[in-house]
């Protein structure tokens, strides 16, 4: 890989002592807070209501916004379908960003769009001078996060991703990358992979799902929210069942066959490879075709189990190892709202990038101290948002964090040798509100 200045800087962080990293990251967090507080209306509004001003508060938890709410908050303003109301969506979007979106261009939008994908493309086109790239979450909850990045933050995500797979997994240029995901999608990890491989001119690269995955298709397939009126009836009664069946009967056999063909091609050429995909999809692959991958190859799962699945992650990993010749099988943890990913080492721990100030919070949103603590993972990423957004977020994922930012004692080392912050064991997605009594979430 050709080392770029950004990747050199990021890689330098891996070599810094943890106390030095912490000071740098906290200073940068204070600068970023002030910068975004002055420019980002949504951030300022939330923090002002909490009683926070432009100076860094003693309690850093007050800077954290819930990732699951922030980029879905358009739903509270305009409902679930931004494409129906571009005129209302654009002020929301402008409020989320720390760079100005020229208001005079709002009139260039159509009154409404047939799909969210068409609307998001038009935003990227109309603001092409800003290099906006809009990514989304998979939207399995019925409401997709809509997150804006620009050229600088996309480049950063790419560098962060490829630096980390080099440092953590030893994935080097020359290895084939086989992504069991569509090339055309806004889902963050797949989009980052696509940008990264193009940007770095990585070869060979395969995307084995031959169908685009637009936010609209993902929403209808998930079946959690449908358009109002006749369009919704069409989606609910016809498209959703059709897409579910088509996925199983048409799409899945096709992308499994394509993936196997790619793997065979690499094996025939004696080329090491990294195969990356969703755990359920990769599990499906392992069950239809066993193939011994070249030594030094890796199978990586990402995205977690989005829907109920009859097998546990442990089962899936065991089947993947059995099917692909005992290669390394590991997981990557990330989310649309984060411009980084955490990579699992051979000891089952997820290593967070060293430029993050990662913490966990308790049920009352207090940051927990100590060398190891369990709570909702939160992070302060002073570089991830660039000039666009303040990336200080609380996730909806419960994790056991080791060497978190609130701990300044001697770090606990992972058996893999890393002394930075890492997540020990499984990461559990929790609903915003857990069930305690007989009260319902409807």
């Amino acid at each position: 890989m050709v080392a770029t200045p950004v990747s050199q800087e990021l890689e330098r962080f891996y070599g810094l002592p943890s106390c030095d990293r912490r000071d740098i990251v906290l200073r940068a967090t204070a600068e970023q807070h002030r910068y975004h507080f002055e420019r980002n209306a949504a951030y300022r509004e939330t923090l002002s209501a909490r009683g926070v001003g432009p100076d860094l508060p003693d309690d850093l938890a007050l800077l954290l916004r819930p990732a699951a709410l922030t980029f879905k908050s358009y739903a509270e303003r305009i409902g679930l379908f931004p494409q129906d109301e571009p005129a209302a969506f654009m002020p929301w979007l402008a409020g989320q960003l720390s760079v100005p979106l020229a208001r005079e261009r709002w009139r260039l939008f159509h009154r409404r769009y047939g799909t969210l994908e068409a609307f998001l493309r038009d935003i990227e086109r109309i603001y092409s001078d800003l290099g906006l790239e809009i990514v989304t979450s998979t939207g399995t909850s019925g409401r997709a996060s809509i997150v804006v990045r620009n050229a600088a933050t996309v480049a950063l995500a790419t560098e962060a991703f490829f630096t980390a797979i080099r440092v953590c997994w030893g994935v080097q240029r020359g290895m084939a990358l086989v992504f069991m995901m569509p090339e055309e999608t806004r889902v963050a990890m797949a989009r980052t992979a696509r940008f990264g491989t193009r940007y770095l001119d990585w070869k060979p690269v395969y995307y084995t799902v031959p169908f685009p995955a637009t936010p609209d298709r993902l929403r209808i397939r998930a079946g959690r929210s449908f358009r109002p009126g006749l369009a919704g009836l069409w989606e609910r009664r016809l498209l959703h069942p059709f897409m579910s069946r088509a996925e199983e009967r048409l799409a899945k056999p096709r992308y499994l066959a394509r993936t196997l063909a790619c793997l065979r091609e690499c094996v025939a050429g004696g080329r090491r490879l990294m195969l990356l995909g969703g755990p359920a999809q990769l599990h499906g692959l392992a069950r239809v075709g066993a193939i011994r991958l070249p030594t030094g190859s890796r199978v990586a799962t990402g995205g977690g189990l989005k829907e109920s699945y009859a097998h546990t992650m442990a089962d899936i990993r065991a089947d993947l190892r059995a099917a692909f010749g005992d290669v390394a099988v590991s997981d990557v943890y990330g989310m649309a709202e984060a411009n980084w990913a955490a990579f699992e080492c051979e000891h089952g721990n997820y290593h967070l990038p060293p430029w993050l100030h990662a913490v966990v919070t308790d049920d009352d949103d207090r940051i927990l101290g100590g060398p190891e603590a369990t709570g909702l993972l939160a992070f302060f990423d002073p570089i991830g948002g660039g000039a666009l957004i303040p990336p200080f977020f609380q996730t909806a994922d419960r994790a056991r964090l080791v060497n978190g930012g609130a701990y300044d004692g001697p770090p606990l080392a992972c058996p893999c040798g890393s002394e930075g912050a890492f997540i020990r064991g499984a990461i559990q997605r929790v609903d915003l509100l857990e069930e305690a009594g007989c009260a319902a979430q409807v």
């Binding site: 949504a42 509004e45 939330t46 209501a49 909490r50 009683g51 916004r65 819930p66 709410l69 908050s73 739903a75 509270e76 303003r77 409902g79 679930l80 109002p228 919070t361 049920d363 009352d364 949103d365 909702l376 915003l432 509100l433 857990e434 069930e435 305690a436 009594g437 007989c438 009260a439 319902a440 979430q441 409807v442």
Partner: protein, 522 residues
Amino acid sequence: MLSQSPLPHDGFWLPAGVRESALAGAEWQTLYLKGGTLAGRDEPGAVAVRWPQLTPGGWQALLDGLQRGRRLGTGEVLARWQTALVLVRECLLARLEEMLPLLAAATGYSRPMIATALWQGEFVSPGSLAAAFSFRPTWSLARRWEPLPGLSGYARFFPAHALNRLTAPARTGLPLYRLAPPVELALGYGAGNVPGTALLIALLGGLANYAREGLPSAAVLVRNSRHEPLFAPWVLDAIEEIDPELVGGLAVLIWDHDDVELQATLMRRAGLLLGVAGDEALAALEAQRRRFAPNLRFHRHGHKVSFAALHCSAAEAQTLAETAALDSALWDQNGCLSARVHFVQGDAEAYAGALAEAMATLASELPRGTTPRRYVHRAFDTYAALQGTRRVRLFSGYDSDFAVVLDERPWPGQALQRAANACQGRVIVVRPVSEALEVPRLLAALPAANLQTVSVALPRAELLDFAEGVGERGVTAVRPLGRAAFPQLAYSWDGLLPLDAAYLRPAGHFTTVELDAPPAPR
């Protein structure tokens, strides 16, 4: 039993007559509870609770013993329960100081809240259950509201099937209920960390044969919640001292409901299945029922949401808010009866302000428990971001013990759903309405099966029209404001419970209006 000793507390209850034989050879499981969830052994303040894992022989001895313990005739069971419940209340009050700390530590609810909810309610008021059993509803209830005899209130039945709705006029006067087959064993499942669920199941299950004179009352076996297993054994211990025959056929245990073999055995022996649990747990029970005992009668109570609706002038705001606050504060809105969105016709702003004051008072008088403060923070953030619309106003701070929000925005289709879901952990959205009958229209956006109570302060003349509207949407109970957390068993929850335990009826739901005094005739 109630000492602060490090020995585990019993999280099960067996009648004295079967205790020894059922427990022979049993292995013991000890778990640690704190804040309504399972905790680690070394967690400071965690309460150790134990229960037995019976051997197959132990199960057999238990089931046989429960049958032998069914000594009470149906004619006397209700009167004996009522007497016992009055006496047991005094008995428990005397031990309150010992019980409250343990219950508070295990469930995560504050001591004053538990004391208020459990000892000031009128869950089973003397005479009300007998009155409920004397009610003989006819099909006319599918067409109009009728008074509940002996009770202060009205009932209405909403048939689920269109054919029944269409043919109801032709059947006016015919009985709505028919006698259920005799029940030897009622099997119950409870969940959650709100105390009392297992007792409710035990009481109702025991009344399953109430309508069959000459038969003994049903034996009852309850699978209790791991998250609150303490309260029922304490009450049953006390009742056994007062009237051992009353509980001779009753057992409360915890077992693994994934134990397919055991579940099959129990379901095949049972004549009535009662489930008070989350929707997923009920679906799992239903799947087992279909597999093992398809003819087993299943009465279920799943996840629910409740609301408040009131007329409020500026002059009434303080009084109404003080009453309504109780409906939302108790159990920190973890209860199915907890009011979430408060619909206000009149001066909603004055009401929201007064409600915030009332919630602040309750925060010190009935402090919140360990329910995550995160819920309040999320609601605060969500609505703080909407204050720029000038149609949303927050009446509480980020670190308040509660959140009160006035939301006057136009509400698109799913807005009520989002608001209702945000209202947990002492979060209240105050929603102005132009008239009370706007409420049923708004509730149409929610799944009918999840609707429970609307606590109301409405003019008497509007009450039955309002109840008709919300009843059609799926609401099962309309209660006076401030009484949401103190339901009476004689009125409808998810059915007219006493009658539903002993009789069969067409699919559908009841809605009852519970009153302090009867409304004006229509």
